[in-house]
């Protein structure tokens, strides 16, 4: 890092030469750029440490969703839970849904715990904490890619060819979901730093969200759940990429665009709050 004069004030650090409009945003950007190597190092560290003393290693990334889907398939077949026609074989539909959802849920859990998990470092070393959150979300990206391989196998197994244009659009469509997860993750990691209960709360809310959002089942007719899901951004953030992958088109593109704007706004707000509050958390953690 180059030599700069910095002033620590009750309202945060002030870097010489950075002032004027969008000062905070430019400082945030500057911090992010300076932290890119650290993000990569922390990501590699967590990745290699996670699977080092594990016999199955990355295979765990596919075991968990397979178990969940297995339960839904079993419930469907035994008539406890009637899913109905989804246009493609149900396991394929479910694997795509849960893969997309896990990008959000795994990343959110990891980023919520990122600050607390590194508490000694946070209290003792001055470094850009944003790197901890981004490195944590990196874990969910890796698992996501591994699960996408599983999705690929599912397509081959059922002899279905995905829409190629759809595949490209589908991958782009994950960006808003990633931004939303990271934005919420920024805020949750701060709150977890002060009140540890939040980690449990996040798990419960994620489970509830997974069940009320049409991820493992399609919405039917005019139910209460269906009308509630009109306002659920996850409905669009998960289902639109899936629609693109399976059929190459979607009915909900406008809603998806609105949800994407919302995600971008949450990401920016969360990041900004994180940037401004990170030094306040260091003394509370």
């Amino acid at each position: 890092m180059k030599h700069t004069k910095i002033t620590y004030t009750p309202n945060g650090p002030v870097v010489e030469g950075i002032g004027g409009p969008f000062r905070t945003t430019r400082l945030m950007w500057r911090e992010l750029v300076s932290a890119r190597e650290l993000v990569w190092r922390l990501f590699l560290r967590d990745f290699s440490a996670k699977y080092r003393q594990s016999a199955l290693g990355v295979v765990w990334a596919v075991i968990m969703p397979l178990v969940t889907i297995g339960m839904f398939v079993a419930m469907n077949r035994s008539g406890i839970f009637i899913i109905g026609d989804v246009g493609v074989p149900y396991p394929l539909y479910a694997i795509i849904g849960i893969t997309v959802w896990n990008l959000f849920s795994v990343g959110l859990v990891a980023s919520t715990n990122a600050l607390v998990g590194a508490d000694v470092m946070v209290v003792k070393i001055n470094f850009p904490k944003v790197a901890l959150i981004l490195a944590a979300t990196g874990q969910s990206l890796v698992e996501f890619l591994i699960r996408m391989v599983l999705v690929g196998f599912a397509f081959i197994w059922y002899g279905i060819t995905p829409s190629l244009d759809g595949l490209v659009i589908c991958l782009i469509c994950f960006v808003p979901l990633y931004l939303l997860m990271t934005g919420i993750g920024f805020v949750m990691s701060l709150v977890a730093g002060v009140v540890r209960d939040i980690a449990n709360l996040v798990n419960i809310v994620l489970l509830a969200l997974m069940l009320v959002t049409p991820i493992l089942y399609p919405l039917k007719g005019a139910s209460l759940l269906a009308s509630a899901n009109v306002w659920n951004p996850f409905n669009y953030l998960v289902n639109v990429p899936r629609d693109f992958l399976i059929s190459g088109h979607t009915e909900y593109f406008n809603e998806f665009v609105s949800a994407s704007f919302l995600s971008a706004a949450v990401f920016y707000a969360g990041w900004r709050l994180f940037y401004l509050a990170q030094t306040k958390i260091a003394e509370r953690i």
Partner: protein
């Protein structure tokens, strides 16, 4: 808010000349007394940050206290500053403020240069990764680029000197090895200002010596150094200037020698305060069984029999104990043990082993006096006094670390580190006129 901040920055730019690397202006920092308050205020502060509500002018809320209070000082390039003070005087908090780990609640700190901090070495180590892998991760945490690390990798490995353990996961390292590796990484970061907090307390002598040499190297390179330490000897050796903190405030800011003298004077007062009210009733064992013989009173005096707990180096310490015996005791032994401030057993002696007092004693009140040679170096020491029987198995009475003494004096005579001055005698004579014969020439 942003306009206000950039204005403040301009002011400091004008005042701060180029040689000043650290400047504190009325810096205060508050902490919460309880975890409940930490959670409460943490949540409200976060909510305020989120809503963009500016925090009030750092006034104390219920359950808070000032950990650092109104600190103002400057540090120039090439200067070495020690920060000393009792436990809890705010030394480490001040260092964390300088490092930017958290912001002051009042005042401002201007840092002009790159800061390297040895606050807790190995804090970013991942236990599952090898030492080698951790060098890269820790280096990145400390702000080194991959190129920096690659360039200095061999130096880091060589300085840490942990040999084949480099490829072992760090969780199998001893604490000494962790410190070696951690220090080595930080020491090889490019920095203009080095902050050091007590890290020299760990590690073996050999490594400690290496660290001190490295720190002296920094100093010679004209880098600024801030050292927080309980090790007064280290502060005296490494620092030209020292700040004495008391209850978070700068009590004294002068040359290292003068600040250390002041610290010792404070220490004696502080310990007297702590010991007051600790007078135990020594007449009963566990509060029930009456003791056969016990200490009624103990005083420390100088050789002129004046009661004191403060001695200068070389001055003998006279222990005067009033002992009451309620029955006949067959050859009691009076003993003493000296501990350093950090609880290290330095040694002891007793009257029996020295054959100083070989009589039985009858019922009555006695005064026992003995003199401890002035062998102690600067520091604080605790005394444990015991009366036991000839075998040492029966302890009649014990005052466990109830007495203390402080050795101070002119800090410029602080030549040694350690606890005691080992007596030695010197002889000098010329054995030959011709130096060349022994292979030595000009």
């Amino acid at each position: 808010m942003e306009a206000f901040l950039s204005g403040a920055d301009e002011d400091s730019r004008k005042d701060m000349n180029n040689d000043t690397v650290i400047r504190l202006e009325g810096v205060s920092k508050k902490y919460c007394r309880t975890l409940r308050h930490t959670m409460l205020y943490g949540t409200t502060d976060l909510a305020k940050s989120f809503l963009g509500i500016k925090q009030k002018d750092g006034a104390l809320r219920n359950g808070e206290f000032w950990a650092v209070k109104d600190a103002t000082f400057e540090l120039k390039r090439g200067e070495t500053l020690g920060i000393i003070g009792q436990n809890g005087s705010g030394k480490s908090t001040l260092l964390k403020l300088l490092n930017g780990i958290f912001m002051p609640d009042r005042g401002k700190i201007t840092i002009n240069g790159r800061v390297g901090a040895l606050i807790e070495v190995g804090a970013g180590f991942h236990p599952m990764l090898t030492g080698r892998e951790n060098i890269y991760v820790n280096g990145a945490i400390l702000g080194m680029t991959k190129k920096d690390i690659a360039k200095r990798f061999d130096e880091i490995v060589e300085f840490a000197d942990i040999g084949e353990f480099m490829d072992l996961p760090v969780k199998h390292y001893s604490s000494g090895m962790t410190v070696r590796l951690g220090f080595s990484i930080v020491a090889h970061c490019e920095s203009d200002i080095l902050l050091i907090d007590e890290v020299l307390a760990v590690g073996d002598m050999d490594f400690k010596y290496k660290c001190i040499k490295k720190i002296e190297e920094f100093r010679r390179e004209g880098k600024a150094l801030v050292l927080v330490s309980h090790d007064i000897i280290a502060v005296n050796k490494l620092c030209s200037r020292a700040i004495l903190l008391s209850h978070g405030a700068v009590e004294y800011d002068s040359t290292a020698g003068e600040s250390i003298d002041r610290y010792f004077a404070d220490t004696a007062e502080h310990m007297a305060g702590k010991m007051r009210g600790r007078t135990e009733d020594h007449s009963e064992v566990d509060g029930k069984t009456p003791k056969k013989i016990f200490f009624a009173d103990v005083r420390l005096c100088d050789t002129a029999r004046k009661q004191t707990n403060v001695f200068t180096m070389g001055q003998p310490i006279v222990v005067k104990a009033t002992v009451i015996s309620v029955t006949k005791i067959d050859i009691p032994s009076f003993g003493a043990i000296v501990y350093s401030e950090d609880g290290i057993y330095l040694g002891g002696f007793n009257s029996l082993a020295e054959e100083a007092f070989m009589n039985s004693i009858e019922e009555g009140c006695y005064e026992i006096e003995y003199r401890i040679g002035g062998i102690f170096l600067h520091g604080r020491y605790f005394l444990t006094l015991v009366i036991h029987d000839g075998t040492g198995e029966i302890i009649y009475d014990m005052r466990d670390k109830s007495d203390y003494f402080v050795v101070g004096g002119d800090a410029k005579f602080l030549p040694f580190s350690g606890y005691v001055k080992i007596p030695c005698e010197w002889k000098y004579r010329k054995i030959s006129q011709e130096g060349e014969k022994h292979g030595y020439t000009d």
